[in-house]
């Protein structure tokens, strides 16, 4: 059995007088895809943001490879890739510049590789067009280009299929599948009917108003 990358122990999160989840424990193992499910407002995005380290309003423990994530924050961040609802794309920069800026703090790559990555997400020919002239789906594809060159073993992807056309979705599913097979760990939320063999599910309820 391989060692879990990320473990959550007794996570509890309240938001505006409502307990989103409590006593939630989970382990993210290498080579697995974990899908977080639940209706709107059940805290899927919140859970992903907590796992990624963007949201600090929780109680419970988060362990990165068995050690306190807080103490190993930089190592954790270097090995985790998060893509959220908002793609992190600057409208005034071109896809190339955006991708270069996003990689600059993690793993600078030669322009040739970035160019190919953008081509791989179907943005061939748009590499040097200002991003504000691109459609919402194309802007998301700029962010998704990171998945083609990322070396982070843990991916946390929130609503990754949003605004992507059917053909793109199929290709993206294939990418996730291959990544898992080669040992990557992925956590996703999606409303799209994603099914991969060996998929773990975490189902969040509709919340719980009373208690304690």
């Amino acid at each position: 059995m391989s060692e879990p990358l990320l473990q959550a122990v007794n996570l509890q999160c309240e938001r505006a007088d409502r307990t989103l989840f409590r006593d939630l424990s989970l382990s993210i193992l290498p080579g697995t895809l974990t899908r977080v499910e639940g209706p709107n407002g059940s805290g899927k995005t919140t859970l992903l943001r907590i796992l990624a380290g963007l949201n600090d309003s929780y109680s419970g423990d988060l362990l990165w490879r068995g050690k306190s994530r807080h103490a190993y924050r930089e190592e954790f961040l270097r090995n985790m890739l998060y893509l959220g609802h908002r793609p992190g794309i600057k409208p005034l920069l071109t896809p190339m510049e955006n991708l270069r800026a996003l990689m600059a703090g993690r793993r600078p790559l030669p322009d040739k590789v970035l160019w190919q990555a953008l081509e791989g997400t179907g943005l061939g020919g748009f590499q040097n067009v200002p991003s504000r002239n691109l459609s919402a789906g194309q802007q998301r594809r700029v962010a998704l280009a990171r998945l083609l060159i990322a070396d982070e073993p843990l991916w946390i992807l929130d609503e990754v299929f949003t605004a992507i056309d059917r053909h793109g979705v199929a290709a993206l599913e294939r990418l996730l599948q291959e990544r898992v097979e080669s040992g990557g760990a992925i956590v996703v939320t999606t409303h799209h009917d994603l099914y991969l063999p060996s998929m773990h599910r975490i189902t969040l309820g509709g919340g719980d108003d009373h208690g304690l």
């Binding site: 059995m1 391989s2 060692e3 990358l5 193992l29 290498p30 080579g31 697995t32 990624a52 380290g53 963007l54 949201n55 600090d56 309003s57 490879r65 930089e74 190592e75 961040l77 270097r78 090995n79 985790m80 998060y82 959220g84 609802h85 908002r86 793609p87 992190g88 794309i89 600057k90 409208p91 005034l92 920069l93 510049e97 800026a101 996003l102 600059a104 703090g105 993690r106 793993r107 600078p108 200002p130 070396d151 982070e152 073993p153 898992v180 097979e181 080669s182 040992g183 990557g184 760990a185 063999p197 060996s198 773990h200």
Partner: protein, 243 residues
């Protein structure tokens, strides 16, 4: 149960990641590049600065004696207000398009990345004000020596304004009516810089030595450089937790 590969992918240790300095440089360069693509946004605080200064001769008195006495104060207040006005965008666009999330998740100390952003903000707003100040100084009849000292105080003081302002911008991120709230929180903290900025020019115009005051303003700058990024980074994390 699962098909988990026994080894998993290699883990990168922090020493394999990008150095903090080059990450800071990347943040700085990106902010500069974006700003230069939209030069109008750069010009606005400058125009505001000029207009506020113009209001005083029109609203109070165009007499040389009044302007000479009040000139340094007018320029400082106008500079302070135009920095304040520009603070709202410091993190807002990044917050809206998701770039800020990615910044917080970079494997470098966040306060240093925030410092890079604050410095970029200063280069884009504070520095142009310093460069424009001599022209306006002449227009309010300041003497040559006073203008030189004024520019020096602005040069030391405006980075402090950007740094302290970044705390307020980070605290009010994502709130309704953030602009007014930001001014409310930040103006009291700007008062010492304003006092020493104008006081130094006044002392200079009376022929007193100003080395001590300038050294003190330098101390403010050092203090702001060391403390403000920590506070802004903490505030950014809080604001992102809330979104």
């Amino acid at each position: 149960m699962t098909m988990a590969s026994e080894t998993g992918l290699p883990i990168c240790t922090p020493d394999m990641s990008v150095g903090t300095l080059s990450a800071m440089k990347a943040v700085f360069v990106r902010d500069l590049k974006i700003a230069l693509r939209q030069p109008q946004d750069l010009l606005n605080p400058l125009l505001f600065f000029v207009m506020v200064v113009t209001l005083f001769p029109l609203g109070v008195s165009p007499e040389v004696s009044f302007l000479r006495e009040a000139g340094s104060g007018i320029l400082w207040v106008a500079a302070l207000l135009s920095v304040l006005l520009s603070l709202d965008h410091l993190f807002r666009h990044d917050f809206d398009d998701g770039t800020l999330e990615q910044l917080v998740l970079q494997p470098q100390p966040l306060f240093l990345l925030v410092l890079a952003k604050s410095l970029a903000h200063w280069v884009l707003t504070g520095l142009p004000l310093v460069l424009l100040a001599p022209v306006l100084g002449v227009m309010v009849h300041l003497e040559g020596n006073s203008i030189a000292v004024l520019c020096l105080t602005l040069l030391i003081g405006t980075p402090v304004l950007s740094l302290i302002g970044s705390i307020g911008a980070a605290l009010t991120l994502g709130l309704r009516s953030a602009g007014v709230l930001l001014s409310l929180l930040i103006i009291p903290l700007y008062i010492p810089v304003l006092i020493f900025g104008t006081g130094t020019v006044m002392a200079a115009s009376e022929g007193a030595p100003v080395g001590g005051q300038l050294a003190l303003m330098g101390a403010f700058l050092v203090l702001a450089l060391t403390l403000a990024p920590f506070a802004s980074a903490a505030a950014l994390r809080i604001s992102l937790s809330n979104s």
